[in-house]
Symmetry: C2
Subunit: 305 residues, 2 copies
């Protein structure tokens, strides 16, 4: 079974504390690493958790509040110092490119690799990346400034033909493709082989959605329908709905309500306000609405293998 694993590097919010690092997560899909947000100190967290810097080819920055991107310039610089030559793709607010370039220029740094910026369109959902296995889309959140969520979905796989069947029959390639797509097979003696007898069900495609800073915002639901794992921020406890609304953040129960409405399998909450020394009760609150909830913590792994 191939890897599909999320690692939390930081799950605090804007004010620095000794308990949490600012936002950052790494998604490992078949040993391709995707970095989600990059708060100050992310590269040190990557060192701590033995994340291989050079395996990251795609970075997604949800918005330009510092706790989500101040670590990007350090990461970009370190890749250079480590001798990278491979491209790095960065998806985020259009102004990010200037922010990074201004700083590289000031230190007379000419990168030996290319950072390719992909500006996100405000208030729109777009396909950001697609290959044979995976599609990654952005979708708008509701925060003080332009902010995007990201959803990663593996593609539906064709059925795997059983080895014994292939050895026994000499099947032409076009028929093989039909069988992989679900067709039955009739052999030279006219015998019907139902598809489910000659194929195995492929692994079901896995999916992850990253809903970073946002108020309670129902329009996200359509974008994250049926995901296996949903990260949704939960900055505040349930009773602080007013604070949440005013600051364009969500409460535990709001995060859980979105997870339920989206029919997610699992919910991960984080981005805890610095006021919370103990976050156990935040988890309990979310679980009242959505029982299959986990609480983010630095170093947490969630394996969807």
């Amino acid at each position: 079974m191939t890897t599909f694993k999320l690692k939390v590097l930081g799950c605090g919010s804007a004010l620095p504390t000794m308990r949490h690092h600012p936002s950052s997560q790494v998604l490992n899909i078949n040993e391709k690493l995707f970095l989600l947000d990059c708060g100050e100190g992310t590269q040190l967290q990557m060192r701590k958790y033995h994340i291989k810097f050079q395996k990251i080819e795609h970075v997604f920055i949800s918005h330009l509040h510092g706790d989500h991107f101040f670590g990007l310039i350090g990461f970009v610089s370190t890749l250079h110092l480590l001798g990278r030559t491979k491209d790095l793709h960065v998806y985020g607010d259009a102004r990010l490119e200037n922010i990074i370039h201004t700083q590289l220029k000031a230190s007379d740094t000419f990168l030996r690799y290319q950072v390719i910026f992909h500006p996100l369109t405000p208030k729109k959902s777009e396909v950001l990346f697609e290959d044979e296995n995976l599609v990654i889309k952005s979708f708008p959140l509701n925060h003080r400034i332009n902010t995007w969520g990201f959803v990663f979905r593996e593609k539906v796989k064709l059925r795997n033909i059983k080895r014994d069947f292939l050895l026994e029959y000499d099947v032409p390639i076009d028929v093989i493709m039909d069988i992989k797509a679900g067709a039955d097979f009739i052999d030279e003696n006219g015998k019907l082989h139902p598809n489910h007898k000659i194929t195995k069900t492929p692994r079901s495609p896995r999916s992850f959605a990253y809903v970073s800073d946002t108020s309670y915002y129902e329009p996200v639901i359509e974008h994250i329908k049926d995901v296996h794992l949903l990260y949704h921020e939960a900055t505040f406890e349930a009773s602080r709905e007013n604070d949440a609304r005013n600051k364009f953040h969500a409460t535990t129960k709001q995060a859980a309500t979105i997870a339920k409405a989206a029919n997610a399998q699992k919910l991960l909450i984080g981005h805890y306000s610095a006021r919370y020394v103990d976050t156990d009760f935040l988890l309990e609150e979310a679980k009242e609405v959505f029982p299959n909830t986990l609480s983010a913590n630095e170093g947490l792994d969630i394996d969807l293998r």
Copy 2:
């Protein structure tokens, strides 16, 4: 006795390691805090070592290599979130202002306090700050890009008149000032009171010089003459003089040679290359040339009280 204390927050070099944080030090002079360089994660180090953020009014950035300033934007933002209203003075390369403003603008942040940028003049020594007790100057170093060192010198204090003497004689204010400056006193009976009998010697003024990234560069000596504590980078071991020259850094022995030539009382070395897991031998090398050498480490305090 008033405080004069240096705290090391980070003493690694450009490549992040789990052993060291990037450059940052805090100098406490009578509970005024001065921040010297501000690599990524400095604000977390300040939290760790209980440095009071709001007590910092002056920040000195030696140059625009990332390991010396990538933490500044995070620190500036956090002061804002903490409700600061007091000015913050930042001394550094002229381009720093644009770097900070570009990032604040991108997040629609309008600071409730003022950051006052003081651009340093390339290749020149200047007085950056002066009050009744202290003078702070910059001086040029020799690195790949414009880089400055900083020297903090307390002013020579007037002598303290003994309390008993003041109680016994009714001395007019102008005579008091003369005595404080070193004059003897002749009382109404014509009796001579030698200055050293009626005054106490004030504490001797203390001084600290911060020589961040530089190759071996003798012109710094005149600026740091007789300092009580000299921080001088020592990125490389003594045998790597060629590496040091090519990378515009110094070796242990070069740092020690500068300390000796400047007649410093104490030397602190740091900015260790990421190649060194154990830095004990670097300290030993420096001590061969300048015995009163200390090795920087995160959390180290040097008290010149």
